[in-house]
Each structure stands twice: as structure tokens, then as C-alpha cells.
Subunit: 365 residues, 2 copies
């Protein structure tokens, strides 16, 4: 399952229609934006994932992916009109520096096409990527970001798939958690469950800590041994097939105390209060205030957008002027924390719909 040819073509069309500049070509250089517009996915779990593919969009709509030979299969399967594959390392001659060569190859391709001016992501593309005499044009980054704010059906299918796999990770955490195991042992069981459910390697990012560190809202799992009665913060945000899920539960190693149970109740109240504000046109700050209203204090955001990146717009924070729109995917994550002592958080993912929202996740919280 991946992005569809129609979905990629529609996004490229929207980008070209929205672009007011008159440059000969648009060059996309951020891997996740290349994926969004062509389906060419670079994976951190592969050596090819360190390659630098580009997408060149000419004014007549022609789309060309430019990639090295270690991404040949991905480039060939990409939803583009053409794949320009260049030789990085062929196992016969020493390889040149990969990123610099990628820039030089892009420049050569642009020159060959007679491209004289280019719009590109100013903060990403290095100088040698544009041939001599080619005029640097407008910054493509804001337009690419806008294009990603609401999700198309092919993207939603991938987000739902990432959420299903992540739920399997939460199920595993509940099943295997016991006092005496180390945080990293719990992490290993969760990671296994997610990859097994996805049927492919995934990159698991997470907050996974037990005991006092939960009061500091998270952290990376280590050799800390989980003790009887410890709260265990399990916030899983893997990348599965390019897209993110972001689901949290706070477990207890053993029987929850009354205080732990009451804290959980308040988090659910806060989540319900925030959910009740989620609809197209709602202000992001309004969702934040609804959650804070229940919790009294909220040292973090109420949530954030989610998709090819994490966090991404909208940001559910007090200082936001953003309003929600149908098609956005957001995470809501109320938490209660006593720094250095104990904390808890729950989190679900949502699609903003015309009628309000659809909760996408179903793990136990």
C-alpha cells in the first residue's frame, strides 16, 4: 500500500495551479515532499534512505524524479512521467560523496532540459544543485507545506495503516508489562509488535519511560528497571510506510493506586472537552483552552497536526491563530505532570471532518 498515481498527480496539479511564479521548473528536495508528490519513498531502515532524490516539475506538468542507482527500484516505481537515475556506487569503482554528486547530477539534468529559472526550497537545496546561469527563483517551502495541511484519501489510508500498526504496539505493551523488566525490554516488545503488524521494518520513535521520569513528560527508553506500581508512559510515534501515527497510554506496572486512577479520569475528561471543540473553523487556541480548562494547567500543547511530519500544522497551542479545516489529521494529548516525580498522558489521533471529527485510533487509554 502506498500513495496512488492519481493522488500524486492531483497534488502536483494543485501545486502548479497555486504557484504564482513564472520559473521554468519547480524542484522539490525534501524527501518527504518528494514522496508526497511522486510516491518515491526513502526509508531510514534502508541504505538507500540516505540518498537524496529530487522531483522536478516543469511548467507543462512533466514530472521527473532524479535519484541515484541505490534508489533505482523506488524511482522506477514512482508515479512520475520519467525517472532519471544516476550512478552513485556500482560496486566496481569507489563512490563519490553522495549528496554533492546528487546536486551535480540534478544540475546536469536541469541544464539538459534547458531550465533557466527554478523555484525551490531555499532552506534545503544546496548551491551546486542549480546549473550555472540558472536563476534562483521563489521559495517553494510555504506552498509545499500548505499542500500537506489537509490529507487526501490515499494519505488517509496510509495514516490509518500506521495507526493500526501502532495500536498493535500498545496491545503488546499491556500484554507484556511487568515489574522487573527494563524500559528497553518493553520497547523491544513494542517495536516487534508494530513491525509484525505492519509486515515490514518500521522506524519507531517514542517516549517510553517509567517511574519518576514520567513527571518530565517523556524520554527515550533505557536500562531503568520498571518497579511495582510505577507509571509507565508509552507514547508511540513510528513512521510506517512514510506516515506517522501518534498514540499514548500511561500504564501502571501492577495495580493502579486511587490517585493514579483519578488522574486517568481527569485526562479522559480533558480529552473529551478538547474533542468537543474539534470541527472545521474552530480556532486551534480554543481546543487548547478547552483542554486546559479541565486540567487547570497544561505545560505542553494540547496536540498538533500529523502526517508526513510530526509535529506539523496545526499547532494546538495558546498562541495560535490557526483554524481547523476538514481533512486535517491531529493528535490530542492531555497530560498531568509532577516534574521529577510522576506523570501521565493519553493521546488519540483524529481526522477533522465536515461534521466535526472522526477518532482514528482505538487503543486502550
Amino acid at each position: 500500500m502506498t500513495l496512488t498515481p492519481d493522488g500524486c498527480a492531483a497534488r502536483r496539479r494543485r501545486l502548479l495551479e497555486a504557484w504564482a511564479g513564472s520559473e521554468d521548473a519547480l524542484v522539490v528536495a525534501t524527501p518527504r515532499n518528494v514522496f508526497h508528490l511522486s510516491g518515491l519513498l526513502t526509508r531510514a531502515t534502508l541504505l538507500s534512505g540516505d540518498g537524496t532524490p529530487f522531483l522536478v516539475l516543469e511548467r507543462d506538468g512533466r514530472a521527473t524524479v532524479v535519484a541515484d542507482n541505490w534508489l533505482e527500484a523506488e524511482a522506477g516505481a514512482a508515479h512520475a512521467d520519467e525517472a532519471a537515475v544516476w550512478n552513485w556506487y556500482d560496486l566496481r569503482r569507489p563512490a563519490a560523496e553522495r549528496h554533492a554528486t546528487a546536486c551535480a547530477e540534478l544540475a546536469r539534468m536541469l541544464e539538459g532540459r534547458g531550465v533557466r529559472s527554478v523555484a525551490f526550497e531555499h532552506g534545503v537545496l544546496a548551491r551546486p544543485a542549480l546549473p550555472r546561469g540558472c536563476e534562483p527563483g521563489g521559495d517553494l517551502a510555504p506552498a509545499l507545506a500548505r499542500l500537506r495541511e489537509t490529507k487526501d484519501p490515499d494519505e488517509l489510508a496510509l495514516i490509518r495503516r500506521a495507526i493500526r500498526a501502532t495500536e498493535a504496539g500498545h496491545d503488546a505493551a499491556r500484554r507484556v508489562l511487568r515489574p522487573g523488566m527494563r524500559e528497553i525490554d518493553l520497547h523491544a516488545e513494542i517495536e516487534s509488535a508494530i513491525a509484525r503488524a505492519a509486515g515490514e521494518p518500521v522506524l519507531l520513535l517514542c517516549d517510553l519511560v517509567a517511574g519518576a521520569r514520567t513527571g518530565d513528560r517523556g524520554g527515550t527508553p533505557g536500562t531503568n528497571v520498571i518497579r511495582e506500581g510505577d507509571p509507565v508512559l508509552v507514547d508511540l510515534f513510528p513512521i510506517v510506510g512514510g506516515y506517522r501515527a501518534d498514540l499514548t497510554a500511561t500504564l501502571v506496572a501492577g495495580e493502579p493506586t486511587r490517585a493514579q486512577a483519578e488522574r486517568r479520569e481527569r485526562l479522559h475528561e480533558a480529552l473529551a472537552a478538547a474533542e468537543a471543540r474539534v470541527r472545521p473553523g474552530a480556532r486551534a487556541a480554543e481546543v487548547y483552552e478547552a483542554m486546559r480548562g479541565v486540567l487547570g494547567a497544561l505545560p505542553t500543547h494540547a496536540g498538533h497536526g500529523l502526517g508526513l511530519d510530526h509535529p506539523e500544522p496545526p499547532f494546538l497551542v495558546p498562541g495560535s491563530e490557526e483554524t481547523l479545516r476538514a481533512g486535517q489529521v491531529i493528535a490530542l494529548e492531555p497530560g498531568l505532570y509532577e516534574p521529577g516525580r510522576s506523570g501521565a498522558r493519553i493521546e488519540h489521533d483524529y481526522l477533522v471532518t465536515e461534521g466535526g471529527f472522526e477518532r482514528l485510533s482505538a487503543h486502550a487509554t
Copy 2:
């Protein structure tokens, strides 16, 4: 365990001494080079891992890491004279585009220091990273690559640690492999074992395939079910604490046939023949020829350098002019393949020493 203050300082000194240009400052932008020279490690398993830290080296030797607030802890612990931390996302206001803002912040910092000319990695750094009026100087990439070709003691300690964790993955593979399991199930057990041994999340890259796909030299594990008698190619190259190991064994799900056992014998002969050539001054192509001499044909390289990247120089290929040097770390990986049918490979990692080599890995092959 990480890179040491002395190791980082010594590498920065060597870089400055080797740099013939007269630029006011050297800017390092590739995360693995920033780590090499400061110990500031960005990890793919953390959200902060998508940040863009920089290292600025001024002519008087002053080293400053520039990083966003999600890398604040890493920047604070870095072995540099100063950490310049800027605010990307503080959970109160929406975040701006991360990479573009990183460039702007670097430019602001360079301007504040009165830096008027800069050497940098031409193929990596984007235009807005240099302030107006600052002259783009020489390309730092070749000097940074040379600096990484031989390994310092603090780097070797990390490579040894990565190898120990990867050996635990191989032990797990032998222990759990059985017909009926899917490739991804075997992968999950291996990944767990490596992370448990490392005591922290690792990014596992690998070739892990069974049956006919072994004839094509590798691939990513999927839902393919391993059958009785299948060869199972297990080539593990995780990133552990920033450094790589790269260890291969080819297992058999069940009892090896006589042909499989003979193939294994020939791979060991080929490995021994290649090992016998490993010493300072040996030509990389000579090691390749020794391995090919035993195998008759060798459709791949004989091996490659290993460290913060994979593959990296030296490349053990027929078309190489490189010679081995003491302090290099290399992998040797003889393989025999019948495309579309069956294949096998073994691989160990080595340190080139004054006297010849030290085999760093001890997994069963």
C-alpha cells in the same frame, strides 16, 4: 559511552591544521560530521533527530554548536566551547519550518560573530545559511571525509560496542530461526536482541531474506514465510550510538544440504584469502582480487570501509586506486549467488593495524 572531549578536540585541531584556506570560519552541516567533531549526536529514533545542528569552527579554534531547542540537551552535552541554542518549537506558539529556520539562525550567529567568509560543505549547506555579504569559501567535504578515513580510539570503542550489539542480533537469529516464521518475525527478534544488548533504541538496517531472494543478494524483510531448508541471508548493519557494524551470516532453516555446506566452506576460504592481504599499504583492488580468485566470480565488492557511514572509503573493488592504512575499519563480505534461486554471504569487520589486521567480530558464520 560516546565520543570523548579529547577525541573531538584532536579532530578539530587536525581539520584546522589541514585546511589551507583563509576563511574566517569553517561550518560543518552534515549531522554525522557534526557528531564526529563535537559529540553532538542526532538520532533517527528521536524527533530531535530531524533537526539540523551545525558546528562553527573559527580560526582561533573556538568551536560552537548551533542547534534548536529540541536538541538542547545534546547541544549542552556536546564537546564544544559554546552551544548556541535557538527556539524552534516551544509548545506555546506554532513552529516555523525547521530547516529554513535553522539556516536563518546560523546566518544570524555568523553575522553576530563578524564572520565574513566561510568554508562549508558545498553539496549540503543551503544558501540562506550564510549571511548577506559573507563570502562563500572552499568546499569542506573532502577534508571532512579524509578526517574520517582512519578511526581514533574513541571511535573504535563505539564501533566495538556496535559490533557487540550486532553479534547479539546474530545469536538471536540462530536461536529463534525455524521454518514457518515470516522474515519480518525473524527481523523483530533480531531487532529486539540488538536493542536489549545496546540498552537503547537502535536503527536496524539490514538485508534479511529467505529462499529464492537470497540469490539476489538481499532485500528488506517482509511477510514471506521461511520454509524448511531455505537459506536465510542475515546481513545486519545497525546504527548504534552513531556508529555502524556490518555482520553477515547465512543460516539454513533446518539441516544444511551438502551443497549448502560446501558453499559455506568456499566462502570461508575466500574470506581467509582476502584477510591474508589486509595490511597497511595493500591496494584495495588486491584484496578484491584475492577474494575473487577463490570464488571465480564476484558480482559485488569484496568489502568496504565502515564508521559513521556505510559504505565509506576504502572501497574494496577492482577499479580502486586506494591503499589500506592502519586505523581504517573495513568489512569483508564474500558471497556466492545464483540469481533468482539461492545465495549465501558471510561478513566480518576488521581494523587495519600496523601488523596487518584485527578481526573485530566474533559471530558464527
